[in-house]
């Protein structure tokens, strides 16, 4: 995962996805579909409740070549800002 110096508050997501209540592999699968609709450089806001997502989403981004700008642990939920890379 590449951390960008840009503060999360400065990023305007192009799309958002709520994966609350979904377990692995659904957040990753649905995030891949959602990122597939974006252009490189655009950002997806993702909310999950699967605690594994805190590891899974950055791992997914690493494999796909996307950039996670924010990975917030909010206790019972997690929020991510994912910038689509150029590889997928």
């Amino acid at each position: 995962m590449t951390q960008s110096p840009t503060a999360p508050t400065e990023i305007t997501p192009s799309d958002s996805l709520d994966c609350s209540g979904l377990l692995c592999p659904l957040p990753v699968y649905k995030t891949a579909l959602a990122l597939g609709k974006l252009e490189p450089g655009q950002v997806l806001e993702l909310v999950t409740t699967d605690p594994g997502a805190l590891e899974d989403i950055p791992a997914m981004a690493r494999q796909r070549g996307d950039t996670v700008h924010a990975a917030e642990d909010r206790g019972t939920s997690q929020r991510f800002l994912i910038e689509k890379g150029t590889r997928t």
Binding site: L22, L23, C24, Y29, A59, M60
Partner: protein, 171 residues
Amino acid sequence: MTNVGHRPAADPATEEPRRRRLALVASKGTLDQAYPPLILASTAVSLGWEAGIFFTFYGLDILHQDRFRKLKVASLANPAGPIRLPNLLGAVPGATAAATKVMKKWMNDARMPEVSEFIDMSRQLGVRFFACSTTMGVMGIAESDLIEGCDIAGAAAFLDYAAEADVQLFV
């Protein structure tokens, strides 16, 4: 003749790494054991990898169009299964149906897709399904018995595919 193992080289012009590949063997035909290979393969393609599953022996039931919706959970010799019974009672008629029903309820309550949905999800993102030709011959399964879009292949073809993979797992 096709070349199932063929894997495109990295493109030197873009300096992009070549796509990773996952090669799985699915050898078990129970409901609970159908999930792991489909979960791993659908995840792999979500990560931008290639993925292929070689369905062999009882695992071929996952591709059998009359059987993949009727997969069951064993109640016998399955001490961690959804109903905990001594093996003597696990053989009682109805015990397998009960274990299967409980597993389906667990999955449904957790909003996990059914096996048939995982098959669709996997294919939608390009997972390759290899049907073991020996299993078809041994168990009398015809190509027309299988769901659409399977490649019929033997061990050599799968190993050719797996030799070019980054991750190989036997489930």
